[in-house]
C-alpha cells in the first residue's frame, strides 16, 4: 500500500470514529416514527381464559367475565369502557362507519394505561328481576358489580333464528386531547346471552 492509501484509511477511521462518538447525541435528538398505533379490547371467561363464557343466564345467579384493554398507542391513554345491554333489534356498533351503538350505557369503567401496559377487570353481573311470557322475556333490572340498573329490555326467543336474545356489549372509547372529548375507538366485544327461567 502507498502512503496515500494509508491516508484514506486514516480518514475513513476518523469519520467512522466521529460518527460513533456522536451516536448518543444523535439518538437522543432524533425520534424515529413508531410502529402501528392501536388499542386492544378483549373479553375472557371467569377463569381468565377464552372459554366458559356465560350464555344461559338465570335470575339471581352471579356470572363473571374479565374485560381487558391493552394500550399500544405509543403514549399513555385515558379510556372509557361502556357496558350496554342489547336485544335482537338494537343496533350494534358499525365497524365500517366507526359509529357506536346508539343504546345508552348501563355501566362504565374509566382508566388510564401507560404505553405497552394492560388493564383488566372482573365484571360480575346478574339479572335482578325479569319475566317470561310465552316466548318473550324481559330483563327488567340488571345488577352489574353491585349496582342495580333499570334495563327494561324485552326480547323474543326464536329457536329457529340465528339471533341471540341478548348481548352484553362492551364498547371502548378513548380521550382525544386535540378535541378534548372522548371518542368511540371502533373497538367492541359482546357477550351473547339467553335468559332462561329457573326450572
Amino acid at each position: 500500500m502507498k502512503l496515500n492509501d494509508y491516508k484514506l484509511v486514516f480518514i475513513a477511521v476518523g469519520l467512522i470514529g466521529v460518527l460513533l462518538i456522536a451516536t448518543p447525541a444523535i439518538a437522543a435528538n432524533i425520534h424515529l416514527p413508531g410502529g402501528q398505533q392501536f388499542s386492544e379490547l378483549y373479553l375472557l371467561g371467569p377463569n381468565k381464559m377464552a372459554e366458559n363464557y356465560p350464555f344461559n343466564i338465570e335470575i339471581s345467579q352471579n356470572y363473571s367475565v374479565y374485560i381487558g384493554v391493552a394500550n399500544q398507542m405509543g403514549s399513555p391513554q385515558n379510556y372509557v369502557l361502556y357496558v350496554k345491554l342489547l336485544n335482537q333489534t338494537d343496533i350494534l356498533p358499525n365497524n365500517t362507519a366507526g359509529t357506536p351503538s346508539p343504546i345508552q350505557p348501563l355501566y362504565e369503567c374509566r382508566f388510564s394505561i401507560a404505553n405497552g401496559q394492560n388493564w383488566n377487570s372482573l365484571l360480575t353481573f346478574s339479572v335482578s328481576s325479569a319475566n317470561v311470557i310465552n316466548n318473550q322475556s324481559t330483563i327488567e333490572n340488571l345488577n352489574i358489580s353491585g349496582l342495580v340498573f333499570n334495563a327494561e329490555k324485552p326480547s323474543i326467543w326464536n329457536s329457529t333464528a340465528s339471533e341471540v336474545p341478548y348481548r352484553l356489549l362492551f364498547e371502548l372509547w378513548i380521550f382525544n386531547p386535540q378535541s378534548n372529548s372522548i371518542q368511540y375507538n371502533d373497538r367492541f366485544v359482546d357477550l351473547q346471552l339467553n335468559y332462561t327461567q329457573p326450572t
Binding site: 502512503l3 494509508y6 476518523g14 462518538i21 403514549s75 399513555p76 372509557v80 350505557p105 374509566r110 388510564s112
Partner: protein
C-alpha cells in the same frame, strides 16, 4: 260558602305549589348532579392532558397515572351511581374527584418543568461531551497519522536497493 271556597282555593294552591316545587327540586337536583359530573369529567380530562404533556417532556408518569386512576374510578362510580338513580353518591363521588385531579395536574406540571430543565442540561452536556470527544479523537488520530507517516517514510529511505540479477 265564601269561606269554603277560600279554603278549597287555598288547598288547591298549596297542592299545586307543592307539586311545582317538588318537581323543581327533582329537576334542580338532577341538573346539579349533571353539572358535578361534567365538572369532574372535565377535571379528569385536564389532569390527563397535563400528565400526557409531562410524559412527552420525558417525565416518569407511572405514579401520576396511578393517582389519575383513583380519580377515574371515582368518576366511573359517580356516573354509575347516577345511572342507577343514586344522586347523593354520584355527587359525593364527583366532588371527591376534583381534589385528586388538582393534585395530579400540579404534580404533572412540576414534573414537566423539572424534566424540561434536566433534559436541557442533559442535552447540552451530551453535545459538549460529543464535541470534546470528537476533537480529542481527531487530534489523537492526527498524531498517530503523523507518527505513522514518519515511520513509513523512514522505512522507505532506509530500505536497501535490491539488485536484480540479469538472468540473460
Amino acid at each position: 260558602m265564601n269561606r269554603q271556597c277560600v279554603i278549597i282555593f287555598a288547598l288547591l294552591f298549596f297542592v299545586v305549589s307543592a307539586c311545582f316545587f317538588s318537581s323543581w327540586f327533582v329537576v334542580a337536583q338532577t341538573s346539579q348532579t349533571g353539572s358535578k359530573l361534567q365538572a369532574a369529567s372535565t377535571a379528569v380530562n385536564q389532569a390527563f392532558t397535563s400528565v400526557l404533556a409531562a410524559e412527552k417532556a420525558g417525565a416518569n408518569v407511572t405514579s401520576l397515572l396511578d393517582q389519575l386512576n383513583n380519580a377515574n374510578s371515582l368518576l366511573a362510580q359517580a356516573e354509575n351511581a347516577n345511572t342507577a338513580g343514586d344522586n347523593s353518591t354520584a355527587v359525593n363521588d364527583a366532588n371527591a374527584v376534583i381534589p385528586i385531579t388538582q393534585q395530579v395536574t400540579t404534580s404533572a406540571q412540576n414534573a414537566k418543568e423539572n424534566t424540561q430543565v434536566s433534559s436541557r442540561n442533559a442535552f447540552w452536556s451530551t453535545i459538549a461531551a460529543t464535541i470534546v470527544s470528537a476533537v480529542v479523537f481527531v487530534l489523537v488520530l492526527f498524531v498517530v497519522w503523523r507518527w505513522f507517516k514518519r515511520r513509513y517514510i523512514k522505512g522507505l529511505s532506509e530500505a536497501k536497493p535490491e539488485v536484480m540479477g540479469n538472468e540473460a
